[in-house]
Amino acid sequence: GESVGLHLPTLSVQEGDNSIINCAYSNSASDYFIWYKQESGKGPQFIIDIRSNMDKRQGQRVTVLLNKTVKHLSLQIAATQPGDSAVYFCAETHTGRRALTFGSGTRLQVQP
């Protein structure tokens, strides 16, 4: 039958504040995680990745935290800017699977 799209979670933050976008995963075998940003009308763009042997990784204004105990991943964006407004996806894979499995996404809205 036809599937119905689900409501996309939205996070609204003030410009200059820090943003935290959360993601839960269910596969305990997952060993590689990646965050993508998708702006309106564009394809997803890579932000940052992390392997399961790490619990934190930092990039430019972004930090990814991995908690394998509770199967939780978060993306922190420091000093959020209007250009950060987009939909953010987490994705995971595990050894032996060549493709990424994506989450449903979170829309980040930055208020001026």
Binding site: P44, T93, A99
Partner: protein, 114 residues
């Protein structure tokens, strides 16, 4: 810069038509992927290919087929389009034989089936 090009940004087709979505990458990547994106459902994997003439089913292959005759080109085929295949289709590529690494995406092809 890596470039993944999807030939059509917008298509409108009728139920029962055969539809071809073309994707070309210019970085000699071994792996190519087709995802479907629907609001609130994220990206769902349809098919992928890790070498010329090689293909593997993803999570939602029903109603789709693929073709990879050349390394740089990966085509998604809807043999008989249906209204529930109205969606955004995203092609991606990645280098190497490892299971990890950044996927490079095209801009997407928005297909409407009437």
């Amino acid at each position: 810069d890596v470039k993944v090009t999807q030939s059509s940004r917008y298509l409108v087709k009728r139920t029962g038509e055969k539809v071809f979505l073309e994707c070309v990458q210019d970085m000699d990547h071994e792996n190519m992927f087709w995802y479907r994106q629907d609001p609130g459902l994220g990206l769902r994997l349809i098919y992928f290919s890790y070498d010329v003439k090689m293909k593997e089913k993803g999570d939602i292959p029903e109603g789709y087929s693929v073709s990879r005759e050349k390394k740089e080109r990966f085509s998604l085929i809807l043999e008989s389009a249906s209204t529930n295949q109205t969606s955004m289709y995203l092609c991606a590529s990645r280098t190497g034989t490892r299971d990890t690494g950044e996927l490079f995406f095209g801009e997407g092809s928005r297909l409407t089936v009437l």
